[in-house]
Amino acid sequence: MADTTQEAPLLKIAGLKRYFDVSPPLLNRILERQPRLTLRAVDGVDFTINRGETFSIVGESGCGKSTVARLIVGLYRPTAGSIVFDGVDMSGLQSRKAMAPLRRRQQMIFQDPYASLNPRWRVRDIIAEPIRAFDLIQGSDKVAARVGELLRQVGLSPVDGEKYPHEFSGGQRQRISIARALASQPEFLVCDEPTSALDVSVQAQILNLMKDLQRQLRLTYLFISHNLAVVYHISDHVAVMYLGRIAEVAPTRSLFSRPRHPYTRMLLDTIPDLDMTGRQRTPVAGEVPNPINPPPGCSFHPRCPFANHRCKREQPQPKQVDDALVACHGVEEGRLPPDTRPLTVAPSLTA
């Protein structure tokens, strides 16, 4: 970690926004006088990811973390903001041709291993698809050799390439998904909840495989999850997202031992833990507001125990607090009680 911080970051995201038009159809708008509606899935997000690290984004469902992942790999076009990958702003690239060299260098691992592999394709064709698309290796026997090598790398056998996806378990499918992502020899992998559809025992295997591959291939991960135990296990930096914005970014140990943002504190309180049996814990109050019509001021203020008048009117901007970036008026004004806790996360996962 320490030696990589001097280098230029691999990915730098600034002011990233993505709005979706969720208006009713034209006829309904005219006849029923309904207004146009915009869903602000991502509403101004900044962060940087250093080479070789694992950067995690956590948050509740619907906070926009998956949208950020899809914006980075180019599945969506940003409404505003920049995505600079290794010095090149990808949001400026228009044509498929211009995107291709960058696309080879970043790949994605998906959440649902049952939907992410085409059921009609043999595994060897699924894994070879990026190789053929980027024309990386010529000759079918050489491609087959590379596919075999990739399968072995993720802990499967080269003969598994002849099978169809339905012949594998969830964990094995996720290994195939990882092999496909590695096929184009990327530097950067976006992992959108790669373990949340798996059994707990299999989750640990996949996470350890990902850690091993990161060491061997010098990969950089953007890891999207709602599982704090998994995030604690794998990350170097963690960003907490709430309603399309980032509440807090901090190094993992700092975030888990000294959470600053009230939302981070609330999330950490929800982690089940043997030591906390019988102890009073703050229940998660309220729900995530509707991103079509977010509350004014700080979007967290309806659920925040420390909210005051300023929070209801003024949107907080991220400010540097020690080693963290926090967007909270209360933290900025120093009126929040300090919160330090022992690092007792991840009881269910053994490295």
Partner: protein, 307 residues
């Protein structure tokens, strides 16, 4: 060789074949349909009388009743028509025309419908709206009316000899253009489901061209329902063809289909020569019924909710 043997063994082991064997009605329908299709396909070589060779016809053989009646001749099993043609032979040759038109119309409609449905579902937005509004308009007319309209236009535009020569293609086109909507709607719906699945996203992340994603990834996954519609659609197309030919706008009389035979026989129904209309009618019913039964079975067998 072993690969073929393995795939045959897999086919016999499959759920589909199992549910096929469980239903005696389906097995019966399949046997009837296969015999029928073979007989119709090989008709020019197996018919007892070549009824379209004018030199073979003898007017003294006209209006012969079926062989088992008093005046019947053993050589003419189902009797003869007003020109002295063997009814059994004309039915086989007519079924061949009917099946050809039906299969071609289904292939045409399926190709058109699947292509438009795939584009509509995958691209979405304005393209989707445009294609689906055209489909809605097509659906608001009865299929026979559209077919009559297209045939009428072709008759008006083309010179008469050209029209007679091309009438079978006009018929195929008009049947296809009036039935593609079903395929388009079904494929559009399944495409919209498949499009949001992560394997399509994985292909998009790699930067595969949308047309290739549609053909290689989405298409194989939306063809299941198309197979069912096509089977039932074949029965409907054969019936529609018979209807159009009965109305006199189908295939020319020199190449009669089952519908044409029924129309010609209809003229003699009340003068007592019932066999000229009844036997082609029975032949049509058997064909449509067996294909329909197969289609129904396929629909149920491929529906996971009914397993």
């Amino acid at each position: 060789m072993t690969a073929i043997a393995a795939s045959v063994r897999r086919a016999i082991d499959s759920d589909l074949f199992h549910s096929f064997r469980q239903s005696p009605v389906t097995v019966g329908a399949a046997i009837v349909a296969i015999v029928y299709i073979l007989a119709a396909g090989l008709a020019p070589w197996i018919v007892p009388h070549n009824t379209y060779e004018v030199s073979n016809l003898n007017l003294s053989n006209a209006f012969l009743p079926p062989a088992w009646t008093q005046d019947g001749k053993a050589a003419y099993l189902l009797g003869t028509d007003d020109q002295g043609r063997d009814v059994f032979s004309t039915i086989l040759l007519g079924a061949r025309v009917s099946l050809t038109v039906g299969v071609c119309a289904v292939l045409f409609a399926a190709t058109l419908g699947v292509t438009l449905g795939l584009i509509s579902g995958y691209v979405g937005g304005m393209v989707d709206s445009a294609i689906m509004r055209v489909a809605d308009i097509m659906l608001s007319f009865p299929a026979i009316l559209i077919a009559l309209l297209i045939d009428g236009i072709a008759r008006g535009v083309l010179p008469p000899e050209t029209h007679t020569r091309l009438s079978i293609y006009v018929l195929i086109a008009s049947l296809g253009l009036s039935t593609w909507v079903q395929y388009a709607r079904t494929v559009r719906a399944t495409t919209m489901v498949e499009k949001s699945k992560e394997y399509v996203m994985a292909a998009r992340v790699i930067g595969i061209h949308p047309a290739l994603i549609m053909i290689r990834h989405v298409l194989p996954n939306v063809l299941g329902p198309v197979l069912v519609i096509a089977t039932i659609g074949l029965a409907v197309a054969v019936l529609s063809e018979a209807t159009l030919s009965f109305l006199g706008v189908g295939v020319p009389p020199t190449q009669p289909s089952l519908g044409t035979l029924i129309r010609v026989g209809n003229n003699f129904l009340f003068s007592g020569e019932w066999w000229m209309a009844i036997f082609p009618g029975v032949a049509l019913v058997i064909l449509v019924l067996s294909v329909n039964l197969l289609g129904d079975w396929l629909r149920d067998a491929l529906n996971p909710k009914l397993r």
